[in-house]
Amino acid sequence: MTPFLLFQALLLLGLIITAILVVAFKDLLFSAIAFAAFSLLLALEFYLLQAPDVAIAEAGIGAGLTTAILIIAIRGTKRLEEKE
């Protein structure tokens, strides 16, 4: 297995782990930050798949603006769910 394929396999594993973390976190702010990390790894994957244009758009929109929008939305609500 070449180092490139190994790196890409690790990247895909990181994508799956961050995607699970987005759903698993109870705190919504942690979830938003995990979504930003997911977006950043996805941008790196786009770059490795020879699509640098899409990678820049994904890094700008996904990792930057979506996180800002989510954080503003979280600031308007309560961060933690009420305990039953």
Binding site: G60, L65, A68, G76
Partner: protein
Amino acid sequence: MNMTKIVRTTADVLYPFCLVFGLYIVAHGHLSPGGGFQGGSVMATGVALLIVSRSYTAILQRIRKEALKLCEAIGLLMFLVAALSGLYIGGSFLHNWLAGAGGLFGTPVAFGPNPGTFNTAGVVPILNLAVGLEVLGGLAVILLYMLSGLRENTP
């Protein structure tokens, strides 16, 4: 309500770097990956850093909403004028009448395989700049209006 001083200072430090890098992506849009939309979204990320770290009343003292709206309007007008000038001069919509004409953005491209230089693409850099301004203004105004809906005493 404002976030902590650490967040605010980090946003202040990173803000000009985001703007300059976005402008770099916009300006080299005809040579390298990226272009108007990508560079504009990077610039809007810099503005979003400032917007997230402060409350609505504090952010209005730092950036002006009218300036962002003006940015968006100027971008749209620039695109339309650059495209319609091609219709008037060259005979078709978006005709690249500046390319190869000399002067600003009009240097002829050298013969043979080469990556091109900054001054060669004619109308395309102007269109890129217009789209960059448009995207920066639009996304920043969206974030500002989202923030304006929050109550002032929310944590």
